[in-house]
Symmetry: C2
């Protein structure tokens, strides 16, 4: 049994198949009363095809640790967001980004950022993907405010079709975006933008298409406040899963 400040699943004594939810003292949930034991949905457990591939034992699967309401949707690509603020180009480091649909992206930006007012005013912004060798400049843009420091001095700045979204020439990929919506959160503005034009260095293209192995994007995780490299490409999407198609264990049970 794992001893921690979190609620944990442990194997129920004397049981081979069921587990119970047992609550240990938790900082996050300290005001909550202990929950009654809770069953996993083992009725739905059938012999399933991925067991041997995943090579994990049932005991491992039964042990889950609750971490409270922790956002674990990482790693995320780290970006340099550009905007014209008080008439000047400014850049801020944002990794809380997202894809809405194929042509639209989101930026979750704390309201305290200097850049937010510029995005609202010009209704344009840029998203630049720095490569791993720009880690110092990128991190620096998240450490200091454009109120005090002219961060555009760090880069070659250029403008594209929108004219008001400054782009970073050193970044291998840059996108100009038009603001289409702001979703209001208590402490954040979420800017949703439509991508208007994308600029790439020839050096990161393979047969005319962006090759992320060459882009070497800077990936971010919050829990350890770290930057990571991209590893190797190892499988094709909408393809490798076909090996399971037509398998009686999966498709025969369909409705």
């Amino acid at each position: 049994m794992i001893v921690s400040r979190t609620t944990i699943f442990v194997r129920r004594r004397g049981s081979r198949t069921n587990s119970a939810l047992v609550k240990a003292p938790s900082r996050q949930l300290s005001h909550a009363r202990p929950r009654p034991p809770d069953e996993w949905d083992f009725n739905r457990r059938v012999s399933f095809i991925c067991r041997r591939d995943l090579n994990r034992t049932l005991e491992e699967l039964q042990m889950k640790i609750q971490l409270g309401a922790q956002n674990c949707l990482y790693p995320m690509p780290t970006t340099l967001v550009g905007a014209t603020v008080e008439g000047k180009p400014n850049f801020v480091t944002i990794a809380h980004v997202g894809i809405m649909d194929l042509g639209s992206v989101s930026l979750g930006m704390a309201k305290a950022h200097y850049t937010n007012a510029g995005i609202k005013e010009s209704r344009t912004f840029s998203i630049n993907l720095p490569s791993t060798d720009m880690v110092k400049e990128t991190d620096y843009c998240g450490l200091v405010s454009g109120k005090r420091v002219d961060k555009a001095q760090l880069f070659h700045v250029f403008y594209g079709n929108l004219k008001t979204a400054p782009l970073v020439a050193e970044c291998p990929i840059s996108m100009e975006c038009k603001l289409i919506k702001v979703v209001d959160f208590p402490k954040h503005d979420v800017f949703i933008g439509e991508i208007v034009t994308t600029y790439a260095d020839d050096a990161v293209l393979t047969d005319g298409a962006v090759d992320y192995g060459k882009v070497r994007p800077l990936l971010f995780t919050m829990v350890d406040q770290s930057y990571w490299m991209l590893g190797k490409r190892f499988a094709k999407a909408w393809s490798i899963g076909k090996e399971l198609k037509g398998n009686k264990s999966t498709e025969a049970v369909g409705k």
Copy 2:
């Protein structure tokens, strides 16, 4: 000069500092008239501190290729999104995800997905992070519809505090979410959810915190429809950029 179907920047003949925008035949922009030459903002170009670190020549920086309005905000973590649909657990593969603020996430899901109705009805969903060794099962969940196939058969399914968001035991990280908003796009529902509880395998924790090197998330890029591994952690955020702090070339120019 690069010959491609895209619009390209080339170095202007006889010029050492300016570049012009020259348009080559483009599939994406085939109906547009050729644009007039466009200047980069070279007025803002100053000798800057990162040049030697980035080790890139001005000529390289001047060469940018326009890719049209291509979304290049990748790689993104691939997730298995769980929801109760028509009374049964279902899972769909979604990599168009995002972080709104620290406690909220987004899912950009094509309206054609079977799962969308379930999320709207129960107003709950789960986000599960598969590891690279689940690539076949994960990809499979993006290939077949829950209308036809019972994808829950692939996994051990369990339920947490919300009771209606099915979670995948095989995934090292799972988050239960409460739907707080749907942002409507022409062909997509963007579901914004508040994270309620996060479950982790003990095996992916280091000193009680999630270690993405152990999670081995499945990263996705659209352009080549590929899955990638996470590489190595190599720098600390809100830290490595401090090396540039106090440098006269940057901070002295601040307003």
